[in-house]
Amino acid sequence: MDRDLVERARRGDREAFAVLVHQVSDSLYAVAHRILRDSGLAEDALQNALVLAWRRIPHLREPDRFEAWIHRILVHACYDESQRARQWTANVRVLPFDGPSTPDGTAVIADRDELERAFRRLPIDQRAVFVLHHYVGLPLVEIAEMLEIPAGTARSRLHYATRGLQDALSADAELAVSGGRLA
C-alpha cells in the first residue's frame, strides 16, 4: 500500500483516497461476501466501510497499517449489516437440504450446501475470524490485533466456529440418515 496515498487521504485528498479504494475494494468485497454470504449485504457493508474509512482516516495513526485498519472497519460494517438483515429474516428458518447426498459428483455440491447452511448458523463474529483465518490466511495474532480483541478471544472464536460447523454437519448427516430411514 502506498504510504504517500494514505498520508494524502489523511489530509483530505479525495483523489488519493479514491485510488486507495480501487486498490482495496476487491479484497474487502471478497471478505464481506464470505462473511455475510449475500451479495447485497456485502455491497452495503463495503460501501459503508469505505465511507466510514474516509471519515475516520484523519485519526489513523499508523499509515502503514492502513489495510489492517480498513479491514477492521469492514468487519464491523459486516456486523452492522448482519444485525440489520437479522431483523428482516428473524422468522425465516433454514430448511434442511432435501435429498440424500450421492456418491457421484453431486456429493461435492451437497457438501457445499451443507457447509453453506452450517456457516450461516454461526454467529457473525465467529464467521469473521473463520474467514480472516482460512480465506485471507491471517494468523490468529494478527486477527486479534486487527479486530482489537484479545488473542484468546480470536482463538476461541475460531475454535467455536470450527466446532459449530462440525456439529451442524453432523446434525445434517443424522437428519439425512433418519430421513432416508423414514422414507
Binding site: 479514491a18 479504494v21 475494494s25 474516509w54 471519515r55 475516520r56 453453506e116 474467514v131 482460512h134
Partner: protein
C-alpha cells in the same frame, strides 16, 4: 467430513468459491457518497495528560489559567462584540456583512461556543468502544454543531447523535439511521431520543451534560457527566 482437519480443508476450498471482484456500482456509489462526506477532524488528543507528573500538571494548569485570563481580558477589551446569540440593537455598530459574521447555523444547532472537543474519564465500560477509566472524548461537530459523538484513543467512535436545541440550555439527541455513520451504539437504536440539559462553567473550560430523560440508557451513562475542554492545539 466431520473431524476438524477435514472440515477446515473443506471449508478452505469452499471459501475459495465466490466473488473476488467488487461490483463497480458499489465502489462508484461509495465514492459518490464520499464526495459529499466531510472527514472527522483529528485534533491529536493529548492522552498523556492523565499520566503527567504533578509538577507538569501544575505548570500546565497555570499556563491554561494565564491564557484564560488573558483571553477574557482580550474579549472584554472588544466591548462584548464576541458575545454569542442574537445581537441586540446597537446604534454604534456599523453593519459589515460577512466580515465578522459567523457561518449560517440552523436554529436548532448547538451554539458555536461549545463546538469542539471535550474530554473525560470513563467510569464504566461500553463493549467495543471504551473501557472503564479510559479517557474518552465528546466531539460536537465543529462544522455545524448539529451532531455529537464519542471518540476514543484508539480511533473508535460511537453514540453519534443528531442534535436539536430545544431551548437555551436544553438539547434533544436522536440516534440516526444505521445507514448513517453511527459508530458503536451499544443499546441505542435508530430514532431513540434523549433530552439533556447542558451548562458551561463560567470560565468556559467545563461542559456539564445532565440527562432529563433518554430512551437509551447507555447514552446516559456515557454522556451525562462534566467534560473538560480540550485545547485546540
Amino acid at each position: 467430513m466431520t473431524d476438524d482437519r477435514s472440515i477446515e480443508r473443506a471449508a478452505r476450498s469452499w471459501l475459495e468459491i465466490g466473488p473476488t471482484t467488487a461490483p463497480d456500482r458499489a465502489v462508484d456509489a461509495a465514492l459518490l457518497r464520499i464526495e459529499s462526506t466531510p472527514q472527522e477532524r483529528d485534533l491529536r488528543i493529548p492522552w498523556r495528560i492523565t499520566v503527567m507528573p504533578m509538577p507538569a500538571r501544575v505548570a500546565a494548569a497555570a499556563l491554561i489559567g494565564v491564557l484564560l485570563v488573558g483571553g477574557a481580558m482580550f474579549a472584554f477589551s472588544w466591548g462584548g462584540r464576541s458575545s454569542v446569540g442574537a445581537p441586540g440593537p446597537s446604534s454604534s455598530t456599523v453593519s459589515t456583512p460577512s466580515s465578522e459574521a459567523s457561518p449560517a447555523i440552523a436554529s436548532d444547532a448547538l451554539p458555536s461556543d461549545i463546538w469542539g472537543n471535550w474530554v473525560a474519564q470513563a467510569d464504566h465500560s461500553i463493549a467495543g468502544l471504551y473501557a472503564a477509566k479510559e479517557s474518552i472524548q465528546l466531539t460536537i461537530d465543529a462544522t455545524d454543531g448539529k451532531h455529537l459523538w464519542i471518540e476514543t484513543r484508539n480511533g473508535g467512535a460511537g453514540f453519534r447523535s443528531a442534535v436539536h436545541q430545544l431551548s437555551p440550555g436544553e438539547v434533544k439527541l436522536v440516534t440516526p439511521s444505521p445507514s448513517y455513520d453511527q459508530g458503536v451504539t451499544a443499546s441505542c437504536t435508530e430514532g431513540q431520543v434523549g433530552n439533556y440539559r447542558w451548562s458551561r462553567s463560567a470560565d468556559g473550560t467545563s461542559l456539564t451534560l445532565t440527562a432529563i430523560d433518554d430512551q437509551c440508557a447507555d447514552r446516559i451513562v456515557t454522556l451525562a457527566r462534566t467534560w473538560t475542554l480540550l485545547p485546540t492545539n
